[in-house]
Symmetry: C2
Subunit: 219 residues, 2 copies
């Protein structure tokens, strides 16, 4: 069994939900069957949108500290921050690429056009990852992208209420209306608002995919 | 703001629930308002009941690593493992004593006889902590104590179903029937099964108390 190192805090609630998923996906009859996790939940990572260089530096430092604390495999339950994957890999540990794994998982059902619910930074990463899988990406309109960010920042402020859930359902429906045969929850705040049943096409949740790959990598 | 170091994994689900409570109790408008948490969730800490010496050694090592990873205050969401508080304090950081804080909180309402839902090891710690507060402790009967342990190990195996919840309610009711004016959920698995509404006297949940004191200590 390997020790999982988690770069967390982006956001904090999404990180906790991710840890719960890792446990739910681990076959366990008692404490000792679970994966050891060392985590740095750092909600003060510089803003990934406005201070990308500072964010990369901080994430690289976190990765080194996690290695020193015993981590053998690294994962980060934040899609947007994967823009700094190289800084994290510089610590010398295997880093599970949430975006690449999610793109691969979303393609499994045979969809050729996949919609993505993500931040602008996350969307750029998914554009590349889906292209590498030969899949066409369906994007939110400009107005819906702005709405998506409002909803995500609402979650970060603690609002996971019914209005927020309805907004996320509508955003997913907009992607389906634009031709998406599948939808990727490409932001770890998405599953805090959206369930599989809320979308009429298959929903691939990046946090769920990452948790599954982490369990496979560590057990 | 201080960085919180969490010695976790005893059990894993209780640790995740504790992290969620810390967040819920933190006034936050966005990610950056939350407390940084470095955690070692180690479900392989040697058994606190059968291998106390090995457990103490491991917990001491975890505390040192958390200090090296940047922790400034330590907390451990497991009552039973507080038998090893001295080994943890040897790392040189302030360690929040969950048992002492919970005993103090339970006394606030003016109760003079308080029942404790805890493992045998946890019960021994609460006996001292409540005596220090001048409060009489009400214990489970031998048979109920065995039942309590069965329920706790069920939670650790992932069972938080209705039968488990009913059993925990009955155990709390047994303490009230034995004269308890208040009940302490003195095991971090308890709140995974028991809500305040489930007990007719005030329920003081040790995980909730620890989360509150951690937020006060770190903000």
């Amino acid at each position: 069994m390997k020790t999982l190192g988690v770069l967390g805090g982006m956001g904090p609630a999404a990180t906790v939900a991710f840890l719960a998923r890792v446990q739910a996906l681990t076959p366990a009859k008692g404490d000792e069957d679970h994966i050891r996790v060392v985590m740095d939940m750092n909600p003060q990572v510089p803003n990934r949108h406005t201070q990308p260089e500072a964010a990369g530096r901080t994430l690289g430092e976190m990765a080194v500290r996690l290695r020193e604390a015993g981590a053998e495999v690294l994962a980060m339950p934040c899609n947007t921050a994967h823009a700094h994957a190289a800084a994290i890999r510089a610590a010398g540990l295997p880093f599970i690429d949430m975006v690449a794994e999610t793109a691969k998982a979303a393609k499994t059902g045979g969809a050729t056009r996949i919609g993505v619910l993500a931040t602008p930074g996350g969307e750029a990463l998914y554009a590349k990852a889906l292209a590498a899988e030969g899949v066409e990406m369906v994007r939110l309109s400009e107005a819906d992208r702005a709405r998506f960010m409002t909803v995500v920042f609402g979650v970060k402020a603690g609002d996971v209420g019914l209005e927020q859930r309805a907004a996320m359902r509508e955003l997913a429906a907009a992607l389906v209306a634009a031709g998406a045969q599948g939808v990727i929850g490409g932001c770890t705040e998405v599953p805090l608002l959206l369930d599989t049943d809320d979308v009429v096409v298959p929903l691939t949740d990046s946090a769920e995919v990452l948790a599954r790959v982490c369990v496979e990598a560590c057990l």
